[in-house]
């Protein structure tokens, strides 16, 4: 039996989480280093997965399959396709930076620390636990296993949001705690309700198919062994899609995200939007499209409209935000609109673009949000109006912030441009009108990012901002590699597209969709 590589990528952070949680109260620095080492080790394993994965090979590779709960037709089945590999790589890549960026976020003043209460250990243990569950959910090819992880990851996320708030809060401590707890509960209830509706669909899928193996069900449907009534398929599709749309999040189910990202610390906000939410869009590609191809085609027009609303609405609200973190949250909602649009445009460029978008959005948002977090922790305020002229006192910070902003508006030369361009091209090919509307999202993105930069970084130096120090070496170390990656993938996206494209072709053939021929050619 070969080494269970995929299991190892999840077991390592999970074991690391347990060990980190067990570090004694007085040794919190040890806990931080342990967490960082474990996350780097996971990155190494993820790199091995990426290298061992053959883009031209079988659809699911590095597969593992073990009996688990036979009564429910559930097996412990893992396997990765190109989309999964890309997202595992993204997750494993971002976690060390999240850990490093949140190095001191959970340290409590010595006065409130007690022998048993160990917030620092808990913070890093929870981050690693989320990493383990997210990675395993990208690997699961058993619908039930995926569902378990999809739901279970809510619990550590919930404690990360509710338990470790942003210190830079306008109101009193009590007010901050109340806001945070509200955000955490809202996050949990939205996602739990989405998950429970999915549970009904999972039960329904079992009643129809009798097992949960994704490749098995897809094959049975393709060969005609398993047929579903149209109405059944549509209901099941809606059950799954609802849960993923809450997670992604898609308008009008998005309202938990600004609260959660606003109240959480910046690294946790990155964890939410760059890592955990990707499970939602990933699952649309993997489960909605493959399990329910007909229903997916049936629902496409509505979903495309919802995605467009997300793009425009998210961008408009981002323009109007006064709070830096909420602005990034609304920008993310707009970007998730692009991802969903790319998936449901049902073209191979669209879906490749959407997958690249997931990766690039993760990196660019991480840069923007982490730098914003550094800034906020220096000044102690999240309000845009409290800043001005930062580039004079902290030029490196302002410079990295600018790059993050430019990446968010998809400047050519930076990675997000490639993916956004692909999504738009893919959409134009099938739905030209939708493509046109989506393009306004780019214009609005320029507005909200540049206005944000202008108001905070340029202009006369505000009194309170004078004391702001430039990035520390640790912080620079967090941001610099990510920026390098943005440039690299912006100029040379080939390694990523090579991995992703075959998987997208498989998905397209599952949905029985072909790329529409370009209009120009038809006119000749």
């Amino acid at each position: 039996m070969s080494f269970p590589l995929l299991t190892a990528t999840a077991v390592l952070p999970a074991a690391g989480a347990v060990l980190t949680a067990a570090v004694p109260a007085g040794r919190r620095t040890a806990a931080k280093w342990l967490a960082l080492l474990v996350s780097l080790g996971t990155l190494v394993l993820a790199a091995v997965v990426t290298v061992r994965f053959e883009p031209g090979g079988a659809r699911y590779q590095l597969t593992e399959s073990h009996a688990w709960i036979a009564d429910f037709g559930v097996r412990y089945e893992l396997g990765v396709d190109g989309i999964g590999v890309a997202l595992i790589a993204l997750t494993a890549l971002l976690i060390p930076f999240i850990v490093a960026a949140g190095w001191n976020d959970a340290d409590e003043p010595a006065a409130t620390a007690t022998r048993r209460w160990r917030p620092t250990q808990g913070f890093f243990a929870l981050i690693l636990m989320v990493e383990a569950m997210v990675i395993l959910s990208f690997e699961a090819t058993d619908v039930f296993l995926f569902y378990l992880l999809f739901e279970a990851m809510l619990i550590p996320m919930y404690f990360l949001i509710g338990g470790f708030g942003d210190r830079a809060h306008a109101g009193s401590d009590e007010h901050a705690a109340a806001q945070r707890s509200y955000a955490a509960v809202k996050f949990l209830l939205y996602n739990l309700i989405g998950g429970l509706i999915m549970l009904a669909a999972v039960v329904g899928l079992y009643a129809v198919a009798g097992n949960f193996s994704l490749p098995g069900i897809v094959e049975a449907r393709a060969s005609g062994d398993l047929t579903m009534a149209t109405s059944t398929e549509r209901l099941l599709f809606l059950g799954f899609f609802f849960a993923f749309a809450v997670k992604a999040p898609l308008w009008p189910l998005h309202t938990w995200l600004p609260n959660a990202m606003g109240e959480a610390t910046a690294p946790v906000a990155v964890l939410i939007t760059a890592v955990v939410d990707k499970v939602g869009t990933f699952a649309m590609l993997r489960f909605c499209l493959q399990l329910f191809p007909e229903a997916s085609r049936w629902a496409t027009p509505v979903i495309v409209v919802l995605a467009l609303v997300s793009i425009v609405y998210g961008a408009l609200l981002a323009v109007g935000q006064r709070d830096i973190k909420r602005l990034v949250a609304y920008a993310s909602i707009s970007h998730f609109g692009f991802i969903v649009l790319g998936i449901f445009a049902m073209t191979s460029q669209g879906q490749s673009g959407a997958t690249l978008y997931m990766v690039n959005h993760g990196i660019s948002t991480a840069v923007l949000m982490l730098v914003a977090g550094f800034l906020i922790s220096r000044r102690g305020s999240r309000l845009i109006a409290d800043y001005g002229g930062v580039q004079k006192v902290a030029p490196v910070l302002a410079g990295t912030f600018l790059i993050g902003s430019l990446a968010t508006l998809s400047l050519p030369g930076l990675a997000p441009f490639v993916s956004e361009f692909l999504v738009l091209v893919g959409t134009f090919a099938r739905y030209p009108a939708a493509g046109i509307v989506a393009t306004t999202g780019i214009v609005l993105a320029a507005l909200y990012t540049l206005v944000l930069y202008q108001r905070t970084m340029t202009g006369p130096v505000k009194e309170d901002v004078r004391a702001v120090k430039d990035l520390r070496p640790r912080e620079l170390l967090v941001v610099a590699p990510l920026i390098a990656l943005l440039f690299f993938l912006g100029v040379f996206p080939k390694p990523l597209t090579e991995i992703v494209d075959p998987a997208v072709r498989h998905t397209m053939s599952d949905v029985k969709q072909q790329d529409p021929r370009p209009e120009v050619e038809a006119a000749k």
């Binding site: 009996a67 688990w68 709960i69 036979a70 009564d71 429910f72 007690t114 048993r116 209460w117 160990r118 569902y147 378990l148 992880l149 739901e151 279970a152 809510l154 619990i155 404690f159 509710g162 338990g163 009590e174 705690a177 945070r180 707890s181 955490a184 509960v185 949990l188 209830l189 739990l192 309700i193 429970l196 509706i197 549970l199 009904a200 039960v203 329904g204 079992y206 009643a207």
Partner: protein, 589 residues
Amino acid sequence: MSAWSGSALSAPGVHSLWTESAPGGTADAAAHGAASGAAHEAAHAVARMTLAAARPVERIPTPKIEYAQLAPVLIVLGAAVIAVLLEAFVPRRFRHYAQLFLTVVALAAAFAAVVGLAAGGHATTRAGIAAMGAVAVDGPALFLQGTILLASLVAVFTFAERRLDPADHGHRVDSFAAEAAAVPGSEQEKAAVRAGFTTTEVFPLALFAVAGMLVFPAANDLLTLFIALEVFSLPLYLLCAVARRKRLMSQEAAVKYFLLGAFSSAFLLFGIALLYGYAGSVSYGRIADVVDGSAAPVDPALASTMGNDALLLIGFALVLMGLLFKVGAVPFHMWTPDVYQGAPTPVTGFMAAATKVAAFGALLRLLYVVLPGLRWDWRPVMWGVAIVTMLAGAVVAITQTDIKRLLAYSSIAHAGFILAGVVAATPSGVSSVLFYLAAYSFVTIGAFAVVTLVRDAGGEATHLAKWAGLGRRSPLVAAVFGVFLLAFAGIPLTSGFTGKFAVFKAAAEGGAGVLVVVGVISSAIAAFFYIRVIVLMFFSEPQADGPTVAVPSPLTMTTIGVGVAVTLVLGLAPQYFLDLAGQAGVFVR
């Protein structure tokens, strides 16, 4: 060993004397003749003759009892009788230990007997009916008896806990009144406390209750069912009344439980009478035969009522009411919050877990054995009850401010989920219910055991506001309670999720998709209040005068530890137990 196998072999013989001859005759006749009226008449005539020949009219035969197969019940009952004698003859200061020892040994021995019976094939191939048709020894019965015994065993540990309250006049105290008969606040009570009296009678009472619960899901005729109900109910009424703190509330709870319980017993008895009028027998098998038309009326005195569907429907509805009262299903749930709140918390945990297991077991047997032919008559009613129970339990729980009442309403909502599995009316429905009951009972006992730990000057601090910030003061206790809450909420990787999934799966396969949807909705509602408690424990600032967490003895630690272990094991690797429940899914008839 020879006595064992001998009795087992003779069981089907006795059984056939009473029940199998009549349907056998009919089946023969039906096989030979067509379905014409004449053939039908002939069949009845044959059946009558066979019965007349088989039944000794004058003599009542000596009952034949398969002692080995009844061993679990007999061990517990015997121990209960010995415990009463201990109460009378053992000096007061030794009673606590003697009683605890006897109870634990008896429950463990009874569990060993259950395992022995199951290993001997009585759950599957050798399943049969013992004690002259009164008690079934089959898969569901043995599974439920095993669950009840294990749950009672860990619950009894919390009965014996004496480290939570500070010593009173130099005597260690448990959760029970010094002298239950003393008027609260009277001189007599004070004297009893000074003298260090304890109510060690709770152990024999619990044993009697367990014995009744063991018979309840195995009862194979309506009279045994009724007697078992009374045998376990009466000790429970008493146990509810003997709290050490808040005695008036405890006594009020007991009176309320007793009055409503007596009322529901009356319904049950009335229903039994009507069903006897309908079938001319109280045996499950006979009633089932009459329902599906394979048995003919025998008793001339009942000729006018037998086969009258009005009697069947009304009688069955009344019996159902009695059982739904015991499981705490809406609209027969009114007693649950008051009794759960007023009873001593260890008793609440015991009652919430074991009673529910026993009552659902009896309900399952009644519905599956007696009424398979009447399925479509009772199904809509049960659908309605399940839906209302799930929703009402979850919605009303939101407004609760007392942790014990909250758990009470949560138990109502869970009863609704279990009912969803009951109405599936398939073998997988039975096994899903069995699994759910096993999973649920350990979570419940564990949760109530944690409630006993959180205390302030007035005893247990059950008001939710006092639990604020518990996670900061005692992260471990709060985390354990958090695990139980997540299991109640049915979050994946806990036993609660596995159970819920099993039940929903069975319901969906049984064509009750609506119940799954309602179940999912009420799970979402229920999640809200479980999460609220978690928020309170972990994200709220501790109050200055908040409660302290008592450090328990190894007894309560064992209870809580077993609860957590079962919750996680059934969440992560449930296959073995699902298999067990799956093998136990067939009722003998």
